[in-house]
């Protein structure tokens, strides 16, 4: 049933050929060697972006909170590797038996990787949404966009208020 997902992954434009779009050394900040902790940022769409400012790559997840609400995830549709995305744009979908929900780009950038493990195990999104059930990696165009997202505290408050 994940054929569309595969299709999406396969149909990635030629951009996939890589090196040109990968972050190059010059993007590394000088202090990168001492920074190993990824920054966790959240969106009101219940997404989590785990951002490594050494590489400018963010890994996108849905939050535990979202996973719990969705129920059993049975299908995920992800963007093609190499696709350039605009903040706020729909880049895929997560489907449970109950319903489908869009995945929105939390920041602008380029998709550099998708989680192939979800091909066979969409359930990872339910069991480990903020871990092995990640969706894709985004090379972030403007790291200041990451800073403007919610931090963990603000997200928690948002969830509580939303209740």
């Amino acid at each position: 049933m994940l054929s569309a997902f595969r299709l999406a992954a396969r149909s990635s434009p030629l951009l996939r050929s890589g090196a040109g779009i990968r972050p190059t050394l010059k993007t590394l900040p000088l202090r990168s060697s001492v920074r190993t902790v990824a920054t966790k940022r959240f969106t009101k769409e219940h997404e989590l972006l785990s951002f490594d400012d050494a590489t400018s790559v963010g890994r996108l997840h849905i939050t535990e909170h979202a996973a719990e609400s969705l129920g059993d995830v049975v299908f995920v549709e992800l963007p093609a590797v190499g696709r350039e995305i605009e903040k706020g744009e729909s880049i895929g979908a997560v489907e449970s038996v109950k319903a489908a929900s869009d995945i929105y780009a939390p920041v602008s950038g380029t998709i550099t990787k998708i989680n192939e493990a979800l091909n066979d195990r969409a359930g990872l999104m339910s069991s480990a949404p903020e871990g092995d059930g990640w969706l894709c990696e985004i090379e972030v165009k403007d790291p200041s966009e990451v800073e403007s997202l919610l931090d963990e505290e603000a997200y928690k408050t948002f969830c509580e208020e939303d209740h």
Partner: protein, 413 residues
């Protein structure tokens, strides 16, 4: 543009989408709030406290606060439990009534296209209330007790419309006649559905009545756990099962007795996926007042002799649709690539829009298969026809597939 939804709507919307007023097919994860809190002005069934104590996640449905699922049991597991063992649903939100009087059969044959005079006592049938244009006001279960008494179950979400309609039709019917008909609503009576291949074995242990002769579509007054109840064999899952109507004072006690292992409490989520696999319609989604029973592919509900007599409300349209073919028909699909949800557009191979999906899910029983039902233009309704369904702006290949998607498992003796 409203084709999709953000993660931020999911919690609230999923549940509503599951069974109530789903208008657009996809939603976002966000609006958790409505979901959790909008229970203030909602009605409760007799089992509300029982659900809460059983760790149900309560959601608004048809004006009631109803269980979506229980504890940590996910929708898929809950669904499978009913397919493989036995589950119990609270359907006490539905409207139970008795229609009685010397001319009750003729009255109900005016309101429905069913052949009720020919129905055996203590037998049930699915039927429809039709408006003057032949549109479906509601679908309902009618159980005949005698020529002068019928037990009727209608949808909670159609309560006001149905009762206003029936009351008005009664007024007209009773005008100037002696053999009057009356409507009694069984307010506060409990209604639970025990469903699954192990339902009969479980219920048999609680009653002296022999359940074997009570085949699919039959009903009886029997004593279960010391309580006299009305039992109709059937349900809304495609499995063997019983719909049990319980006097108000016994609803909680008897439900406790009916929910011991292996029976699992089952919520609206699994109810929706079970009924869709069985090819059964959900009013407000797959049926509405603009749809005739022939368009809905419910031709079998219009009895042969009623086609000849044509003396029911809405007959003109129904007979026309039977004779000339309806403009569109309800069909089933299997969809490749992604599940098609309510509202998704159906496109012919020639790229013409030919209809819309009214219900759709990834099937929990047929793993890896996305199933859906919807309406297509007459002519495109043949089994095996290939069409495309738009999901997230991409056409997905879909094949017209006969329903039920999962074979039914009714007890026919």
């Amino acid at each position: 543009m409203s084709r999709s939804a953000r993660l931020s709507g999911i919690i609230q919307r999923h549940s509503r989408q599951t069974l109530t007023s789903c208008s657009s097919s996809r939603r976002a994860l966000g609006n958790v709030r409505l979901f959790a809190n909008a229970t203030g002005d909602l009605k409760k069934t007799a089992l509300y406290d029982f659900h809460v104590a059983s760790k149900a996640k309560m959601v608004p449905f048809a004006g009631y606060s109803m269980p979506l699922q229980y504890g940590a049991v996910g929708q898929v597991a809950s669904h499978q439990h009913v397919r493989n063992e036995v589950g119990l649903f609270d359907v006490g939100h539905m409207v139970q009534s008795i229609i009685r009087g010397p001319s009750a059969t003729a009255f109900l044959e005016r309101l429905t296209p069913s052949s009720l005079h020919a129905l055996n006592p203590f037998s049930s049938t699915l039927s429809v209330l039709l408006n003057e244009n032949g549109g479906i006001i509601d679908d309902l279960m009618v159980t005949k007790h005698s020529d002068q008494e019928f037990y009727v179950v209608t949808n909670a979400g159609r309560r006001d419309r149905d009762l206003t309609w029936i009351t008005e039709q009664l007024r007209i019917w009773n005008e100037g006649r002696d053999d009057k008909v009356e409507l009694e609503i069984l307010e506060d009576w409990g209604l639970v559905a025990l469903q699954g291949p192990k339902a009969a074995e479980y219920l048999q242990k609680l009653t002296d009545a022999d359940l074997k002769p009570l085949t699919f579509g039959r009903a009886a007054h029997i004593t279960v756990g010391g309580v006299k109840v009305h039992v109709a064999r059937g349900g809304y899952t495609g499995e063997d099962g019983f719909e049990i109507s319980i006097p108000p004072e016994h609803t909680v006690g008897l439900t406790e007795l009916l929910t011991q292992p292996p029976v699992q409490l089952t919520g609206l989520g699994a109810r929706d996926s079970l009924r869709l696999e069985a090819g059964l319609c959900l009013y407000g989604h797959d049926l509405n007042e603009q749809t005739s029973p022939i368009e809905a592919s419910l031709n079998w509900l219009v009895a042969k002799n009623r086609r000849e007599s044509g003396d029911f409300i809405g007959a003109e349209t129904v007979l026309k649709h039977l004779k000339e073919g309806p403009p569109r028909r309800r069909v089933g699909f299997t969809v490749e690539g992604a599940p098609a949800r309510e509202g998704a557009e159906i496109i012919s191979k020639e790229n013409e829009p030919i209809g819309k999906v009214t219900s759709g899910i990834p099937s929990p029983s047929l793993q890896g298969v996305n199933i859906a039902m919807g309406y297509v233009k007459n002519g495109y309704h043949k089994k095996g026809t290939e069409v495309q369904i738009q999901v997230r702006n991409k056409p997905r290949k879909a094949i017209l597939t006969s329903m039920p998607f999962v074979p039914t498992n009714y007890w026919r003796g």
